[in-house]
Subunit: 151 residues, 2 copies
DNA sequence: GTCTTTGCAAAACGTTTGCATGTTC
DNA sequence: GAACATGCAAACGTTTTGCAAAGAC
């Protein structure tokens, strides 16, 4: 098992202090995802990393993605495609959501402005009605995008 | 391919008129899901149907689930478990959402009242800001449920 | 030197498909 | 009897795992 010390460690301390090692694969994967706008699948990440680290294996990509997800550095996404996608968590768009076009499959990021009251209201209502502590609210809007509406 | 006539047919006409046949498997599956509160996986459905139709195969379950999803009779759900879940679409809770407990995995249905303005506002804002036609809005709240908060 | 991480190949998992057989209309 | 639906087994694509070798500290 990879996470010997639990997710809390990396968040409070550093990579080293948690018994985790800085390796080429991990650094390259973080670099790649932090510089990527879109949402990549594990295999797309694998092939992109191959350009930098030709010897890398797919298993390492999966293990690293799992690790970084646990650490809260990246986010695993599911758009009902039968495979996962991953994205780097940027501070400024921590709680953003997705619009998915049913026609062309395009995925659009939606970052509500910090003070968008509607989502706070919704969260509060859920917490009160169900006595449920909401940690993350995920919203997907499935529909038809601008370009596909025209054609 | 199962859907020779497209989803539009069943919605406008009947089962028969669309060249679809009423079979034991389809009737049993609709009956099962319409009487089930929770969200079942394909395999759970398979084993429950086995009690009624011992000869049924898993492939038929998958094919029927796909068919009924296309027809808009049931809904396919994804809670990031690596497998799909299915639920019957009840008229009175057409656009309901889900609260998922990260601790015990329990899934709670959340049906906002018809006139809940917050969701209409959100939908309108998305449609205006992105020129995107929203067909369905899916919301998942991941967090900790009542029972798990106490223990 | 010790413990962690890796690559490889094989396995596991949920799901889909080809095809001969069975069912429905 | 013609068209559709089924069961079975095999195939599929994604993800996980066991293990020996390589790498980080």
């Amino acid at each position: 098992m990879i996470m010997r010390h639990g997710g809390w460690c990396w968040k409070k301390h550093g990579f080293k202090e948690c018994g985790l090692r800085k390796t080429q694969a991990r650094e390259a994967l973080i670099k790649l995802l932090s510089q990527t706008e879109g949402h990549l699948t594990a295999e797309e990440i694998f092939w992109k990393l191959k350009e930098v680290l030709p010897g890398i294996g797919l298993a390492t990509v999966y293990r690293t993605l799992e690790l970084l997800t646990q650490l809260g550095i990246i986010k695993k996404l599911d758009f009902q495609e039968g495979k996962a996608r991953f994205e780097f968590i940027k501070q400024e768009e921590r709680d953003h959501h997705h619009l998915i076009c049913k026609v062309c499959g395009k995925i659009i990021n939606y970052t509500p402005s910090e003070e968008y009251q509607v989502l706070k209201d919704l969260t509060e209502k859920i917490e009160k009605d169900f006595d449920f502590k909401v940690e993350t609210l995920e919203i997907q809007a499935y529909g038809v995008c601008k370009d596909c509406k025209r054609s």
